[in-house]
Every structure is written in structure tokens, then in C-alpha cells.
Subunit: 337 residues, 2 copies
């Protein structure tokens, strides 16, 4: 005879009543914390299972003075009005979700359109989360610095700099830029351009590293073309640029998406890649190899980066004053160069 009780068990108190014990006993049985007779513990656990009862995490967290959630913020300061769907973010987000889940934390996702210089503090003060991971500095470095001064559990995916007061995890973008430069030069390319938005620290570093690694005679001729990194924007910029008659032989893009736009625009203008010109991207998103031709690119270790972000955050949550981490990029040579 299955003696299932239809009665709704909504709280530890209900279960205590049914089980003929006190709420504290139920709590200890279900959390496994505190001393409790093995028999009763098992009896209560079985009872909870039978009634499909689970502890209410909200109440639990309130009592424990934590929220059990980490916020992942995507600041869209530099892409105002544009929606962002770069595969890079999805990959990063996926790995972050997994790493946080492993530690028993929830991932609270928020896209923020930075307003004024108070959006971050305001968010933090609501106490919604125990810590914050921010993907990209966007153009908000000053805000991040200000908050970092009084709020420890915050780490940023982005460009590391001695000028930063905030803690970062990120690819060594200068080194990445240098890899691209050396590769193009080795291919004999001399009419070069960089496509990206240097108001974003990460992209600025890629550009600087690129230029700095060029031989002196090329350094002054490399063109900087401003573009947002959405497919729409970058395709438009690239198309207009080729239409204006520009005929480069080596292009370095701030991201793979931008590189794919360049590829598309170049083809449209009758140029052959890599026959007439080489194109190099940045990120190595999974789709980079699907480009036609497959994209040469500077790879970021997204999975490793996500793990490091989470590690660092939890070390800081534990009170440790852990510092920024830089990850080496890697050149992936395919057929677009």
C-alpha cells in the first residue's frame, strides 16, 4: 500500500508537524548540518522526498545572508541602440553558467545600457547578488574603477592595465595584435588596415599591439577604420570602405564577426581572399572555421577564461586579495591569410 499523503507541504514547519519533530530537526536533517540521529535524519529525508518537498532557497539565503547568485553583466555602452548577438558572448556565457552551477550558484544575466555613472553601484546596492562578473569594459572603465574601490567581489573580462583599479581576466590583447602583425608581414603584406572601435579598451590594445609589432616603415601607413562590431554595422562600414576604392592587401579585424564582414565585402568587390588580400580575425568563435574561406584568427581561450573569472571571483569573495590574470592568445592559421 502506497501511503502517499496528498497534503501540501509548503514549509519546514508543515513537515515538522507531520513528522512529529521540531523545525530545527527538519532543518538539520535536510541540510545535513549539525548533529542528528542517523535514524531520524533518514526518516525525515524520506518524508521530504515522499512529499516532494525542497527547502526554499530564498528564505535559506536570506537567513544565511547571501543570495546564492552571481550577476553577469553585459554593458552595452559602446553599442548603444544595437543588440548584440556575438557568438563570443554566448560561448563565454555558457562556460560561466557551467562554472557557477558547479559551485552551487545561480547566474543572473543582465544587459545594461549604462546610464550616468551610478548604474553599477545602484545595481550592487540592491543586494541581488553576491558578486559581479562584467563582460567587457565597454567604455565604462571609470565607473568600474570607482566601484572597485569599495566593492571587492567583482571581476571584469577585459583588458588589463596598470591604470585599472579594477581586477580583470583577459587575453593579452597586445600580444594578440602582435601575432596578427607578424603573420601578415611574414605573408609579405604591406598595405594594412585595422577595423574596430578603439574606444573599447580591448580593441585599442589589439590595435596598439598590431601597430607596434610592424616594421617601422609600415607603422605610419596602417589605416585605422572605425566600426562597431555588430554584423550589420561592420558589413556596412566594410562595404563602403571597399566601394571608396581602398585596395589593401592585409586586414586585421577586432573580432571574427568583423572579419567575416570584411570577407563578405571583399568578395562582393571582386577581390579574392587570400589571393588579393589576407584577413585575420580575433576570438576564434566556433563559426570561424565555417567562413569561406575558413578564417585565420587570434584565438582566445574562452573556456579557460570563464573558469579563471569564476575562480578569481570566489577567491575574492573569500576575502583573498587576488589580482588580475592575463591569458596568452594563440594564432590559428586557416585559409583567409
Amino acid at each position: 500500500m502506497d501511503d502517499t499523503k496528498p497534503e501540501q507541504v509548503k514549509s519546514i514547519a508543515d513537515l515538522a508537524r507531520i513528522g512529529g519533530v521540531s523545525v530545527s530537526t527538519v532543518s538539520r536533517a535536510l541540510t545535513g548540518k549539525g548533529a542528528l540521529n542517523k535514524g531520524t535524519r533518514e526518516r525525515i529525508q524520506a518524508l521530504a522526498d515522499r512529499h516532494g518537498f525542497k527547502l526554499n532557497v530564498a528564505a535559506q539565503n536570506l537567513r544565511l545572508g547571501r543570495t546564492g547568485a552571481i550577476a553577469v553583466l553585459l554593458p552595452l555602452g559602446h553599442e548603444r541602440g544595437q543588440h548584440l548577438s556575438d557568438p563570443f558572448f554566448m560561448a563565454m556565457l555558457g562556460f560561466l553558467a557551467d562554472a557557477l552551477t558547479d559551485r552551487g550558484y545561480d547566474l543572473l544575466l543582465s544587459r545594461v545600457l549604462p546610464q550616468g555613472d551610478d548604474w553599477l553601484d545602484t545595481f550592487i546596492r540592491t543586494g541581488r547578488t553576491d558578486g559581479v562578473i562584467i563582460i567587457g569594459q565597454s567604455n565604462q572603465s571609470a565607473v568600474l574603477d570607482r566601484t572597485a574601490a569599495h566593492y571587492a567581489p567583482m571581476v571584469i573580462w577585459g583588458e588589463q592595465s596598470s591604470r585599472n583599479a579594477h581586477v580583470t581576466v583577459g587575453t593579452d590583447n597586445q600580444a594578440g595584435g602582435a601575432l596578427a602583425a607578424q603573420h601578415l608581414v611574414a605573408r609579405g603584406r604591406r598595405r594594412l588596415a585595422f577595423f574596430g572601435n578603439v574606444a573599447v579598451p580591448e580593441f585599442a590594445a589589439r590595435y596598439q599591439g598590431f601597430v607596434a609589432a610592424l616594421p617601422a616603415d609600415l607603422r605610419d601607413t596602417v589605416e585605422l577604420v572605425h566600426t562597431h562590431i555588430t554584423p550589420e554595422a561592420s558589413l556596412e562600414v566594410a562595404t563602403a570602405w571597399f566601394a571608396a576604392g581602398n585596395r589593401p592587401d592585409g586586414l586585421f579585424a577586432a573580432s571574427d564577426v568583423v572579419a567575416m564582414s570584411l570577407l563578405s565585402a571583399a568578395t562582393d568587390h571582386g577581390l579574392s581572399v587570400p589571393g588579393d588580400l589576407s584577413i585575420i580575425g580575433f576570438d576564434d568563435i566556433p563559426m570561424a572555421r565555417l567562413a569561406n574561406p575558413p578564417l585565420t584568427t587570434v584565438a582566445q581561450d574562452i573556456e579557460g577564461g570563464a573558469r579563471q573569472l569564476v575562480d578569481l571571483l570566489f577567491r575574492r569573495l573569500a576575502g583573498e586579495d587576488a589580482g588580475s590574470i592575463s591569458i596568452a592568445p594563440r594564432l590559428v592559421i586557416r585559409e583567409s591569410s
Copy 2:
């Protein structure tokens, strides 16, 4: 003289003490609910601002019997062991985040690897969120149905079917498949194949709609090629398929990412698109136009879909018994067909 007090204000009680009022007054001042003298309300609000105090949402939610968060789950039942970074998800996620933020809710993101048939109920019973949005049925329709029977605030992005006990929002995939079929036939294509995983209801419907819309003599010759939808998997399948000597003249892919793999593999085998064969994708991700050649595809209204998902969820949260919603697809003709 700025009379800032350095004193830490951690709760409504602290503020009440400082302001010389009761906690209830502070609560009413800060929430704007309940009758309160305009003067005191403003005075307390100013005081709160000055001390940088924000209500603790966790406690607020506990008291209000809600969590203020909606879970977005990505079940990876059919992509076990593969990480998923399809731009489609990112686009969907972004729009969902915005729609939920507009309503004052947080988005709790979780990728789940379905274990057994209890993962969903277990998640829900923890009371972490007020409602659940699930992106894609994956191969978990049975689980969804079981939960839907006793849990109302749940909506699924996916394939609608009279066999479903769960509520869906999604593109009319059969109609989408039909659009692809009609287009290929109009182009005079006759040696056809579909690439996808028909264990996933959405893809199955695309395939069925595709086949059903073909003229009778073609219906039996269309090949069904099984592939997962990650770039890695689909590129491998496509490459092997062409290598085996298959020479189709019309391909319909379950997603744009798969279509781009087909494009890449076809080019590798010396085939010209659309000269030798036409390729059609599904989704119209922002990068579809960056493919080389730009991809003809069946567009899903991702933004509209996200809005409908959220709308529907909140209607159900309010107790309304609102039903499934189907969204019409749209054929976007570019240069791959």
C-alpha cells in the same frame, strides 16, 4: 556644507533610527505604497539616497512570497557533451533579458543536462524562480508535459503540437519547411536533402513541412542526413557526405549554422553555390548575411518571439489560462539559392 554621515546603513531599521521614524514608515516611503505624508516620504527618500541605501530585494521577495526572477533553461538533452554557442540562442537570450528587465524581473540562466525525468520538477520545487522559460524542447517533451500538468507558469520556445500538454511559443516550422521546399522547386532543384536532427521536434517539423510541400515525384528521393547543429559536428558530417560522392542540387539545413557548414563543405569539394547547388538555412541569425555567398534562409522573428514568450508567461502567472502561440516564418532570399 555636505553633511554626509559615514555611518553604514544596512537595513530599513537603521534608517528608521537615524530618521527618527518607525520601520513601517521607511518601508512605505521607499516603496511608495500606502498612505504617507508627502513631506516625510521625501525626507526619508532623501535620507536613503544620502546614505546610498537600497531595499534588500531578497528580503522583500521573501516577504512578498515571490522571487522576482524568471528562469531561462537551455536543455541540452540532444547535444549531450557538446557546448552550444549558436547565435540564435544569444539573440533570444538578449531579447528575453530585455523583456524581463522591463517588467522588473531578473533572468536566471541555467544550462541543464537533463538527468532522468525529474530534473525539471526538482528545479521548480526549490522555489528559486517565479516562472520558467525553456528554450527548445530538446528531446524532453515528456518531461515538459508531466510538469505542465501541475505547474502553470512555464512556457516553452519550440514546436507546437496537439500532442503537447505544455504551452509553446514558436515559429510554424512546418510552414517554414514548406517555404524552403517551394523555393528550391521554383529554382528547378530536384536532388534534395535535409540536414538536421529529427529527434528534436522543431527540426522534425521543418523536415516534415519540407517533404510535404514537394511535388509527389520528389518526395521519396529527398535524403535525410542526421547531424547535430554545432559547427563542429555539422561541418564534419557535411564534409564526409560530400566526400562520399553525393552531388545534390538543393540542400535545406535545420539551422543557419548547419547551412554555413554545408556551404563551407560544398566549396571545399569544388562545388559552386548557387551555381551547382542551392542552400537554404533556418533562423536568419545576424551572421547569415555574412556567409559567402550570403545565405538564403527561413527567418524566425526572434525578437517578437521573445516578447511573446514573456507576455504569455506573465499572463499565466496572473492566473490566466493562456494558450500556445504560433509565429509565421518568412523566406529571406539572398544569394545561396
